[in-house]
Every structure is written in structure tokens, then in C-alpha cells.
């Protein structure tokens, strides 16, 4: 029973790893067989850090842009981006 369970979770883990590999940039360059788990983990860590840094940057830039606006224009911009995307 336990061996069956571990087999299932190993399949799950492999699937998750391949999905992660397809998401994270840099790890797509090498052949999918060569990427080891540790490398993938490291790339994922770096990717998450860079995304969080980007959010920080964008918040900065948005606050600069919105500084001169009142509430209504900010709302209009948000809706405009919703309609255009």
C-alpha cells in the first residue's frame, strides 16, 4: 500500500517539476533531461525573487504616475487597462 502511494506521489512530483520547468525561464535552454532538481529549485528561487522585485518596481513607478491624479482618473486608468487587455 505504501509503495503504491509513494509511486503516485513520485509521478505527481515529476509532473510538477516539468510544469515548473516550463514556467521558469533559463531552465528551458538546457535539455529537459539535464536539468537537475537542485538547479531547478535555484532557478525558481531566483525567478520568484525577480518577480517580487518587479512588483516592487512597478509599485514605485505607479505611485509616481498616480501622484498627480485624483481617485477618479486612477479608476479610469484601471478600467482602461481592463478593457484593453
Amino acid at each position: 500500500m505504501s509503495s503504491r502511494r509513494s509511486r503516485i506521489s513520485e509521478e505527481e512530483i515529476n509532473e510538477l517539476i516539468s510544469k515548473l520547468q516550463s514556467l521558469v525561464p533559463e531552465s528551458r535552454r538546457r535539455g529537459s533531461n539535464r536539468a537537475s532538481a537542485t538547479k531547478l529549485l535555484k532557478e525558481t528561487c531566483n525567478y520568484i525573487k525577480s518577480l517580487q522585485q518587479e512588483v516592487d518596481d512597478l509599485s514605485d513607478r505607479l505611485s509616481d504616475l498616480m501622484a498627480g491624479m485624483d481617485n477618479n482618473s486612477a479608476q479610469a486608468d484601471i478600467i482602461r487597462s481592463l478593457l484593453s487587455s
Partner: protein, 212 residues
């Protein structure tokens, strides 16, 4: 994929709007630093709400809600749900579990390093099997990962991986949304023209107050 991007976009923007609206109505006028923090807070909350109920979204909302400066904004957005949410996730037992586990890891590492030092002093090379080294490296990396992903400290194995995957997808979506918002804001600040017809604005939500 668990998340369909279309659904997420609308919810994200609605929640982002609401967050900004609430935090602006609480403290106005505000400095650039405060505005940046309120934008970041609204964006993170919007990302968590758009994703729905997962481990990391709850952890993120709880973590954000524990900071003093965020409490009033969070209360404004969540309303009555705020009390329920905060009560559920400030359970001390959860953190005791984490502390006990941390102690175990430390003592294991200490004995392992001591063993390495002892064999190094003897003059012989350290015979550590490659699988142990690989596992050690992997443990270190997943520790960093656990710190990055909200709520990751309490997970391991495949559940940690699936949370990481989910978190990465949502982060990417958040970044994309904020980029498109930034582009839209740039366009409007350079040209002060109302491009949207009024009927489509009215459809978007009743919490928008347009005064002309």
C-alpha cells in the same frame, strides 16, 4: 492549469481598485512612500483574492494583516471577514510546530558538521556520499524557497512544489497586470482624453463613484 487568466484579470483589477479606494479614503493626502506601500498592498491582496483559497493566499493575507499599517485597509476591504480570518490564522499551535521542527534541523546539522570536522582533523578526506551532498543542497535550496513562498515553512514535498507552482503563476499574472496598468496610466497622463464611453463604466461595478 488551475487558474484561468481571464477570470483572474477582472477579479484582480476589481480588488486592486477597491484596495486603492479604501486606502486612499483612510489617509489622504499621503506621501509617495505611503502611496507606493498602498499600491503594493492592494496589488498583493488583489493577487491573493483573485487566486482564491489556497495555502499561500491565506498565509499572505494573514502576514499582511499582522502589520500595523495595513490593518485599517484590510479591515476596510474584508469587513466582517477580517475578524474571522485573523482569528483563524493567529493560532499559536501552528507556530509551535514550526519552532520544534527548526530545532530538530539545527541539531542534525550540528552533528553532521561536527562529524565532517572530526574526519577532516584526522587528515582523511571526508567520505560523504554524493547522494547525501545532493540532498543537503536540495534541502538548503528548498529552505530558501520556503522562505520566499508565503506559508511555505509549513509544507514539504509535493505540496510545497504545487504551492510554488501556483504562486509563480499568480506572481507572473500580477506582474503582467501591473505592467498593463502602468501602460494605461502612462497613456492617460500624456493625453487627457476620456476614451471610455460611460455605459461600459457603469457596467464595471457599483462601488465606482463618478462625479462629473
Amino acid at each position: 492549469m488551475h487558474v484561468t487568466k481571464e477570470f483572474k484579470k477582472k477579479t484582480f483589477l476589481k480588488q486592486f481598485l477597491l484596495g486603492l479606494h479604501v486606502s486612499n479614503s483612510i489617509s489622504n493626502p499621503i506621501s509617495i512612500e505611503q502611496r507606493k506601500n498602498s499600491i503594493k498592498l492592494s496589488a498583493d491582496l488583489a493577487m491573493a483574492f483573485a487566486r482564491g483559497r489556497t495555502h499561500w493566499t491565506h498565509a499572505l493575507i494573514t502576514k499582511l494583516g499582522q502589520k500595523e499599517e495595513n490593518k485599517s485597509t484590510l479591515k476596510g476591504i474584508l469587513g466582517r471577514r477580517y475578524q474571522i480570518l485573523m482569528a483563524r490564522y493567529s493560532c499559536p499551535l501552528l507556530y509551535q510546530k514550526v519552532q520544534r521542527r527548526k530545532k530538530g534541523v539545527r541539531s542534525y546539522r550540528f552533528s553532521y558538521n561536527a562529524q565532517k570536522r572530526r574526519s577532516a582533523l584526522k587528515g582523511s578526506c571526508v567520505r560523504v556520499s554524493p547522494s547525501v551532498v545532493a540532498r543537503n543542497l536540495e534541502n538548503r535550496r528548498s529552505k530558501v524557497l520556503k522562505r520566499l513562498v508565503p506559508g511555505g515553512e509549513l509544507l514539504k514535498g509535493s505540496s510545497l512544489l504545487s504551492e510554488v507552482l501556483d504562486y509563480v503563476i499568480s506572481l507572473k499574472a500580477q506582474v503582467d497586470m501591473m505592467k498593463s496598468l502602468w501602460r494605461a496610466t502612462q497613456v492617460s497622463s500624456s493625453s487627457n482624453v476620456e476614451l471610455i464611453p460611460k455605459c461600459s463604466i457603469a457596467k464595471e461595478g457599483s462601488f465606482l463613484h463618478y462625479s462629473k
